[in-house]
């Protein structure tokens, strides 16, 4: 599985994991993210059961597993968090941060050791070894309870399914041609995102943030100008349409 460090400062590092060549066919490719601070780490949208072994192997290249004290699930989907029952056996002291709305559902993946820290509808923040991370509400994008993670120091927004693209399995992490990339995002956003109102509120909210990298759970990372271009494109897009892929 590919691992890339996408940010590095004195206080913390960001990693993206993905493009696992051993991933079984027919399961959607996902990007997993991790913030490693001095003595702890936060694993964001750690992925599905099928990916667990590859993820665990990749993570222990960067940090000892007992330093993973925090998990984050943007929402309840299986590609986001169905590996929870396995992480539960690997991480006896971790806390899962996830929307309050999904607690009763996410627990179905099995959690006996990990504790659930419910994120309010308004979002919240998490401080790990002096690094502050913000939970940004993204409800109905696409799940009815949904948050993203913003790091004001790294200027990174982990944007869950927003900005996702249905790309081939060996696609690079960077977007070389924005117009080409749009073709891979249109159907996904129209079909999976249910509400124009929610979409516009989210655009309004994240437009206030300084973002150098926007990191979706599927597809490629938006950098610099591409973030603004994405927001403009998304703003013009009508969502909640069945249509054809």
């Amino acid at each position: 599985m590919l691992t890339r460090e996408i940010f590095n400062s004195n206080s913390h590092r960001w990693f993206v994991f993905g493009r696992d060549p051993e991933k079984p066919n027919k399961i959607i490719d996902t990007n997993q993210y991790m913030v490693a601070t001095a003595n702890n780490a936060l694993l964001m949208d750690p992925g599905g059961i099928e990916l667990f072994a590859a993820m665990l192997a990749s993570v222990v290249r960067e940090v000892p597993v007992d330093q993973i004290t925090h998990l984050f699930a943007s929402h309840q989907d299986p590609d986001i968090i169905s590996s929870l029952g396995l992480w539960d056996k690997a991480l006896p002291n971790a806390t899962l941060h996830a929307p309050w709305l999904w607690e009763g559902f996410i627990r179905h993946f099995g959690m006996q050791q990990i504790s659930y820290s419910a994120i309010d509808d308004d979002g919240g923040q998490l401080e790990i070894d002096g690094v502050t991370l913000q939970f940004i509400p993204a409800h109905y994008l696409h799940a009815s309870g949904n948050h993203h993670v913003y790091d004001p120091e790294a200027k990174i927004l982990m944007s869950g399914d927003v900005g996702a693209a249905l790309d081939h399995d060996e696609a690079p992490l960077e977007i070389n041609d924005f117009d080409e990339h749009v073709k891979k995002m249109t159907y996904f956003h129209q079909r999976w995102m249910p509400s124009n109102k929610a979409k516009n509120e989210w655009i309004e909210r994240v437009s206030q943030l300084e973002i150098e990298q926007m990191c979706p759970q599927h597809g490629r990372i938006f950098k610099g100008d591409q973030v603004k271009r994405f927001l403009d494109w998304f703003s013009d897009l009508d969502v909640g349409i069945v249509g054809n892929p």
Binding site: F52, A53, A54, L56, A57, S58, V60, R61, E62, V63, P64, V65, D66, Q67, G85, L86, K89, A90, L91, P92, G110
Partner: protein
């Protein structure tokens, strides 16, 4: 029924289902016993022997119900423990896969404790469900033993039925037949359970 390839938790669930069926039949048997009692009173002194038998039929039915409940609890407990064991096995497989893929990773040793703990958990879950399975088998044998008495009861009921007046004899014979059929049905479910566990 071919259960040879079923996991323990599936087998235990099948046994729980069989026992549930057996219990339903036993419930009906308690009603048969109550009817028999009324009839034997109507039939007068000639049916005194039959009346005494109804008491035994009722006891047998209640025994089957009680043990069925207990077997059901054991079946559910072992099904639960063995399905948890299966899930734990999946975790162990995933851990060893991760280990193979991370042989050169600097912190590969950091999840060995979790790996060992999970192995321990698996062992204790396996002990749990094996203990419950033993209990299950013991109790199934107990019901099977009780049912051998049921056939004797049915035969005796038939004999007693011949002693009463013609007017009541056929009703009492029907009851004796009911007892025999119920015993056979319950027996069938017990046998199926025992076969399922032995496969």
């Amino acid at each position: 029924m071919n259960n040879a390839n079923h996991q323990t938790f599936v087998k235990a669930a099948i046994v729980a289902g069989e026992l549930h069926q057996a219990m339903m039949v036993a419930h009906k048997l308690t009603i048969t016993a109550a009817n028999a009692k009324v009839l034997s009173i109507k039939a007068g002194s000639a049916a005194a022997g039959f009346g005494a038998l109804t008491q035994h039929i009722d006891e047998l039915a209640h025994n089957v119900i009680d043990i069925s409940k207990s077997v059901n609890r054991a079946a559910v407990a072992s099904s639960k423990a063995s399905s948890e064991a299966e899930r734990t096995k999946i975790a162990l497989t995933q851990f060893s896969r991760a280990k193979q893929r991370a042989t050169d990773a600097p912190f590969v040793d950091s999840f060995l404790k979790a790996y060992n703990d999970t192995q321990q958990t698996l062992k204790s879950l396996q002990t749990d469900y094996q203990r419950e399975l033993k209990r299950l088998q013991g109790e199934l044998e107990q019901i099977a033993g009780d049912l051998r008495g049921a056939n004797v009861l049915a035969t005796m009921s038939r004999v007693e039925a011949t002693l009463v007046s013609h007017e009541h004899a056929s009703a009492l014979r029907d009851i004796a037949d009911n007892v025999a059929t119920a015993a056979d049905t319950i027996n069938h479910h017990i046998k199926q359970s025992q076969l399922c566990l032995a496969s």
